[in-house]
Structures are given as structure tokens and as C-alpha cells.
């Protein structure tokens, strides 16, 4: 009898521990007098190290320790998602991707920062495009859930030694009828890519995103798509006739054409592969997020460092320019105590000041602060900062509604099928994509049949 009772007690105890803990990480004690430390989650990359530096300065000023916990990019979203699932408080703030905003807001994971950002005058300090895409949800609502932290977007790196070579310049002008220079339009970029594609010399014109796994090829394509006047949706979230419009088709055809001038083996390429083909001398131009350009400015990594130049996205047929948004905004976890929320807001308020934003930029972070972006010190700090500051005025993003992951999947599949698989036409690929996206949006109740 005693044995049975003991066994049952052990079982009940273990089950109770498992269920009452709600599978969550152990909550950290909050000091009664106030908060003495803050935890920020971010992906594992250089900007997170820079944020830790800034956090150390915050600790020196206030005594509140800031710890930036880093998780590899591949598992970052999964880790944050798992924490959301248990409504955990393992982090106070999270530097989340722009596309997460809708999902996080609809599920109640982020604290509404509208009043905080407006009353402290922070909304006016950052570029409107970054505030809209990193922080605002729904779009156009004027409701904000994140402070634009690491501004980022696609830009270009190019080999100045090739562009400024007199023989290349003369040959290019003779062939295309205009001087070889930084391309102002996508057609010019295509011409230059074609001109520098010399397989016999192991040189190719351009490196573009093609990775099928998450969102790379979609981001690469939308640079052209937006500039060509196309979009992912209309004002009512309809996709049929929008994403497969003639403008989008022309943009995809051009993206597919660019892939013809890309180095062999870049069939599943993202930021690492872009820098690799540039560093090993295979590509005359590469697209990449600005966050990955610092390594090209390192002579130990990039043998062409002294002749590497940078430029912002070229324009479409109507002169419009857009760049696919990267980067992240910082948000406050809604599952922490009110004291910790206030402490987190205090940190963001401090972080958003022009002085700290200037420091943030100085240590290597990509600020979205208008004043800093326009400062001479920032523009001349690195060879790519000028292109970055220019880009931050015309960034645009993919869907950021909670269903963005469902919409991203067919986008990746159809774009890769056309660009890399090489089967069918751009119209067929975009028709298929629009059809599947339409079905998803109807099934999810975003639009009606």
C-alpha cells in the first residue's frame, strides 16, 4: 500500500512540476527596488556585438546591466517562436525581423509603443520608411510596436578597378553607346553584368540572391519588382492581377536574365555566397544587405578592398527606386512585469537619443536616425555609408501580416523555379504564384472570395 502511495506521489509530483511550469524557462527574480538587468535577444552577427557594446555603456551610465543574447540566424526565429508559444519572459526586448511584426502583434507578443514613441518625440527622429516597415502595424495605422534599430536593405558592391579600366570603359561605350559607370537603371545594370561576363577569364557580371530556403530570392527579386511599379498586393490585399501584372513579369524576366550572368554554383546563394564570389574575383558586382558589407571593407578578407565601391539600387523604367528591406526593430516583450517593461522603455528612450545613435553608428550599427544619417561624420565613416543613407529613404518590404510565412513559401518556390529551374515563362511562374497566394489569403480570411 505504502509502495503504491509512494509511486503515485512521485508521478503526481513530476506531472505537477511539468504542468505548473507551463513548459517555460524559469522566470528570473525581479528585484523589489527596481530592475538591475535587462536581456535582449538578437541573431548572432556583428550588429548584436555592437549592441552589447552600447549596452555596456548603458550599464556604465545607469548601473543596469544589459545582456544581448545571440542565437544563430538559422534557429533565431524558431527560438523566439518557442518563447512566444509559452508566453515566456526569458527576454525583455527582442530585435525582431520586420516581417514578424504582424504575427507578433496579432498574437499579443509585443507591447504597443505608439504612445511612448510619440510622447517622447522619437517617431520624428527616424526615417519614415524605417518607422513604417520596422515598427508600424497595420500599415498606415500610425500604431507602432518597434523602434527601428538596425536599418538594413539591399545594396550593391562593385569592382572599381574593372569599371574604371580605360579599355573596359572604351569597349563598353562602343558596345552600348553610353559610358561605363555606376548603373542608374536596372537595364544599365543588366548591360554591365552582360559586359563583364567573361567565362574564359573566370569573371561574371553579377551575383544575385537565389536561395530557396527562407526569403532570399524573394528579397532579391522585389528590389526590381517594386522599382518596376509592381507590388505584392493592392490596397485591398488582392494579389490576382497585381503580383502577375505586366510590370512584375518584366521585372522577373530581368531578374532571370541577371542570373544568366551570375557565377556557376550560385544557384542557392544568399549573403555568404555573394561575398564569396566577390572576394574570390568571380563577380564584378554583387547585391547584398549592407550589414554584410563591413567584411568587404576588411583587407584581410577582401583582396579587392581598395577598389571596392558601393552603390544604392538603380531605378526602374519610371525612375522609381526601391530596396528590399532587411534589418530589425527592437520590441518589448508583453509577458514581462510592468517594472521590466518600464525599464525596457527607459533603455529604448536612451538608445534613441541622437548622441547614442551617433555612438551606435560609430561602433558599426546601422542607425535609422535622420540626424545621424545626414551627418558628415556618418556619411564618410565607411565607403558604404553614403549608399546606405540614400537607401534608407526608399526601402520597402514583403507582406508583414501574420500570414507572411504562408505567402513567402510559394513566392520562393515559383521565383526559384523560373530563375534557377529555368522552366516556363515569367508570366506562368507569377500566375501560379498569384493563384496560390490568392487561395491562402482567402483560406486565412484576409480577403473574401
Amino acid at each position: 500500500m505504502l509502495k503504491k502511495t509512494f509511486s503515485v506521489l512521485v508521478l503526481i509530483a513530476l506531472l505537477s512540476i511539468a504542468f505548473t511550469s507551463n513548459f517555460a524557462a524559469t522566470p528570473r527574480p525581479v528585484q523589489a527596488q527596481g530592475v538591475s538587468e535587462l536581456t535582449i535577444w538578437w541573431a548572432e552577427w556583428d550588429p548584436a556585438n555592437y549592441l552589447q557594446q552600447i549596452g555596456n555603456e548603458y550599464e556604465a551610465e545607469t548601473g543596469i546591466k544589459v545582456t544581448v543574447v545571440q542565437e544563430p540566424w538559422a534557429s533565431y526565429y524558431n527560438k523566439v517562436g518557442a518563447e512566444w508559444a509559452v508566453q515566456g519572459d526569458s527576454f525583455d526586448m527582442v530585435v525582431g525581423d520586420s516581417q514578424w511584426v504582424g504575427q507578433a502583434v496579432e498574437a499579443g507578443h509585443y507591447v504597443d509603443l505608439t504612445e511612448f514613441l510619440n510622447s517622447n518625440g522619437i517617431t520624428e527622429t527616424v526615417t519614415p520608411a524605417t518607422l513604417q516597415y520596422y515598427g508600424e502595424y497595420p500599415q498606415g495605422s500610425g500604431t507602432y510596436y518597434a523602434y527601428p534599430t538596425e536599418g538594413d536593405a539591399n545594396g550593391w558592391a562593385y569592382r572599381k578597378d574593372l569599371f574604371e579600366d580605360p579599355d573596359n570603359m572604351a569597349a563598353f561605350e562602343a558596345e552600348y553607346g553610353y559610358p561605363l559607370a555606376i548603373p542608374e537603371t536596372w537595364e544599365q545594370l543588366r548591360d554591365i553584368a552582360k559586359f563583364f561576363t567573361r567565362p574564359d577569364d573566370g569573371l561574371y557580371g553579377v551575383g544575385i540572391y537565389t536561395q530557396v530556403d527562407y526569403d532570399a530570392i524573394t528579397m532579391g527579386f522585389e528590389n526590381i519588382m517594386f522599382s518596376y511599379g509592381a507590388d505584392w498586393k493592392d490596397a485591398d490585399n488582392n494579389v490576382l492581377g497585381v503580383i502577375n501584372s505586366p510590370e512584375a513579369v518584366a521585372a522577373l524576366e530581368l531578374y532571370g536574365e541577371l542570373y544568366d550572368y551570375a557565377p556557376p554554383g550560385t544557384d542557392n546563394a544568399f549573403f555568404a555566397e555573394m561575398n564569396n564570389v566577390f572576394i574570390n574575383g568571380q563577380a564584378a558586382m554583387i547585391m547584398n544587405y549592407f550589414a554584410f558589407f563591413p567584411s568587404l571593407d576588411n583587407p584581410d578578407i577582401n583582396p579587392y578592398r581598395d577598389s571596392t565601391g558601393y552603390f544604392a539600387m538603380p531605378a526602374g523604367p519610371t525612375g522609381e527606386r526601391f530596396a528590399a528591406l532587411g534589418g530589425q526593430g527592437i520590441s518589448v516583450n508583453s509577458y514581462i512585469s510592468d517594472e521590466r517593461k518600464q525599464a525596457s522603455l527607459d533603455f529604448i528612450k536612451w538608445f534613441a537619443t541622437p548622441e547614442v545613435q551617433a555612438r551606435w553608428a560609430a561602433v558599426g550599427g546601422y542607425t535609422c536616425n535622420i540626424e545621424v544619417l545626414e551627418s558628415e561624420a556618418f556619411l564618410t565613416q565607411t565607403p558604404y555609408n553614403a549608399a546606405f543613407a540614400e537607401t534608407m529613404t526608399f526601402v520597402k518590404d514583403f507582406w508583414n501580416i501574420p500570414q507572411f510565412g504562408l505567402l513567402l513559401e510559394p513566392a520562393q518556390r515559383y521565383l526559384h523555379a523560373y530563375v534557377v529551374g529555368g522552366e516556363g515563362t515569367a508570366q506562368e511562374a507569377l500566375d501560379g504564384m498569384a493563384f496560390e497566394m490568392d487561395e491562402i489569403l482567402i483560406a486565412e480570411g484576409v480577403i473574401s472570395e
Partner: protein, 310 residues
């Protein structure tokens, strides 16, 4: 005094008590870590639910199963996995058993050679995927050069060509896991009594006859175990695909684009994890995979029993 207290303690820790003390924690852990998730995920498979959303699961009956079993894209994933498992396991059996036949006779350095052949299966699939990705690169990889292609512009793009990508994954899997089949085969071969071959030799049986009537039947139980293990593993293939191709390249088949190396496990991962995080649907798909694996395992076990009885 102590001589009296010692037997008293032993009386308290009787055999039954000891057994319970060891078994109960294991049973509790098993219930918490295996049985409960299994039952809970079965429940979730009948619901519309996202683990990253606080909205509670909504009962949708068989809708998730209907979607998995009626959507062309899911059938494509099952077809890719089936094709991959069939080709990969078949080649592993041929290569692994062939290597075992070559290595069954001892010669100088055979031990070292056997150990070296076993190295690939000791590596992490993620690492194997990463370095084979470089090996397959047409610009600087050695695979195309090994095949005689010196010009990267005309060399096959193993990971980017929809016709070759699945073969590329198969090649790496065969390279990695044929040694496992070889190991099991060697164990089977070394257990065959010599007198069977001696008797066959006295009867002037040919080498082919000896192989067909002695070697193969004797090794068959272990070969079937190898087939069983490798088939189950092939159906779970994830790491190599993610490391090599990420499920791509994509291909337009009719009006629909499909990922040519996206196995069910890769699809399952994408469904279950953010940004999709379709927990209910992915649970249903996981159960379909589980049923398929159980069915295939049963077929193999029946075949194994027949061989043993026969």
C-alpha cells in the same frame, strides 16, 4: 550494534522496492517525454492551431488529414521521399555489401582500411552537407573535375539542376551510409561457418552457386535489418537536404512549382516551425509519415521473419 542495523536496512530495500525505484522514474520520464507528446500531438492533428499563437486549438476533425492527402504538393513530397529512399537504400545495399565482400578476407592493412571506410558515417550530417556543397560547386569543387569537367561553364550544376539535385543528395547519402551496411554485412559474413563452403567445395559447387546458396541466405537477416534501418532513416532525411539544397531547386511542373529535393521531413519542418508554424497541420503530416514508416517496417519485419523461418 552495526551488525544488527545492516540487515534491517537491507530488509527495507527489497528486490521489488529496488526494481520500482529504478523503473518508476523511467516510466514517468517515458510518459512525460514520449507518451504525452504523442497523444497530445495526435489531438493537435485534428485541430487548427499555431504554437506561437495564444489562440487555443480549434477542432477541425479530419480537415488537416484531408489537406495532406489531397494536396498535390504534399504528394510531391511523399513521392520525392519514396524515390529518394528507394534509390539511396538500394545503392547503399549494393555498395555496402560489395565492400563487405571485398573486405571479408583478411589482408595486410584490412583493419585500417575498414576503419577508414567507416569514417563518413561518424561525421555529422550537417558538416557533411556543408563540405559536399563545396565539393559539388562547379567553379571550385572537385566533383566535376573528378568526372572530367575542367570548364565550370559546361560542368553540371549538381545542386542547381532539377534533374541532378536529388542524385546529388543520394550520392552523399550513399557515401555516408554504405559503410553502415558494410559493417552489418561483415558481421553476417564472418558468422557463416567455414564448413558450409568446404562442403560446397567438395561438391565442386561454383563460386556463384556458393554465393547464391550459402552467402546470401546466411547474410540476408542482417541485410534486411540494414534495409529496415536505412529505409526508416531515408524517410526521415532532413539534415543532408537542408545542408546541400535547402529542398530546392524548384521546378515548374505544369502550372505548379515544386521543390525537387524537398522530402517530407523538410516539408514537415517548414510547416511546423516559424514563420509558418502550422502546428495542427504539421502534426497531421507527422502522423501520416509515422503510419507509413510503421507499415514499411512491418513489411520488412515480416520478410525478416520469413527468412529466419525459411
Amino acid at each position: 550494534m552495526s551488525s544488527y542495523s545492516h540487515p534491517a536496512r537491507r530488509r527495507h530495500l527489497g528486490d521489488k522496492r529496488l526494481i520500482q525505484m529504478f523503473i518508476i522514474p523511467t516510466v514517468v520520464l517515458l510518459i512525460l517525454m514520449n507518451v504525452f507528446p504523442l497523444i497530445y500531438s495526435l489531438y493537435l492533428s485534428f485541430t487548427e492551431y499555431s504554437a506561437i499563437n495564444p489562440t487555443p486549438p480549434k477542432w477541425v476533425g479530419l480537415d488537416n488529414y484531408k489537406k495532406v492527402l489531397s494536396d498535390n504538393l504534399y504528394w510531391h513530397n511523399f513521392a520525392v521521399t519514396g524515390r529518394y529512399a528507394l534509390i539511396s537504400v538500394s545503392l547503399q545495399m549494393i555498395v555496402g555489401f560489395g565492400l563487405a565482400m571485398l573486405l571479408k578476407e583478411k589482408f595486410k592493412g584490412s583493419g585500417l582500411l575498414t576503419t577508414l571506410i567507416l569514417v563518413p558515417m561518424m561525421l555529422s550530417p550537417a558538416v557533411v552537407g556543408a563540405f559536399w556543397k563545396n565539393i559539388f560547386n562547379p567553379s571550385f569543387g572537385i566533383f566535376d573535375q573528378f568526372l572530367g569537367y575542367s570548364d565550370p561553364n559546361t560542368a553540371p550544376e549538381w545542386l542547381g539542376d532539377p534533374d541532378l539535385a536529388l542524385w546529388a543528395v543520394v550520392i552523399v547519402d550513399v557515401w555516408m551510409w554504405s559503410p553502415f551496411v558494410m559493417l552489418l554485412s561483415l558481421a553476417g559474413l564472418s558468422a557463416i561457418p567455414d564448413y558450409l563452403y568446404e562442403a560446397a567445395a567438395i561438391d565442386r559447387a561454383s563460386a556463384w552457386f556458393q554465393f547464391r546458396r550459402i552467402t546470401l541466405p546466411q547474410v540476408m537477416p542482417l541485410l534486411l535489418i540494414a534495409v529496415l534501418f536505412r529505409t526508416i532513416e531515408a524517410f526521415k532525411q532532413f539534415d543532408l537536404v537542408m545542408g546541400l539544397t535547402g529542398g530546392g531547386p524548384s521546378l515548374l511542373q505544369g502550372t505548379q512549382a515544386v521543390n525537387v529535393t524537398e522530402t517530407v521531413s523538410v516539408k514537415l519542418f517548414r510547416l511546423a516551425m516559424p514563420p509558418q508554424a502550422q502546428t495542427g497541420l504539421s502534426s497531421a503530416m507527422a502522423y501520416v509519415v509515422l503510419i507509413i514508416i510503421i507499415a514499411i517496417s512491418n513489411l520488412y519485419i515480416r520478410a525478416l521473419n520469413k527468412v529466419r523461418e525459411g
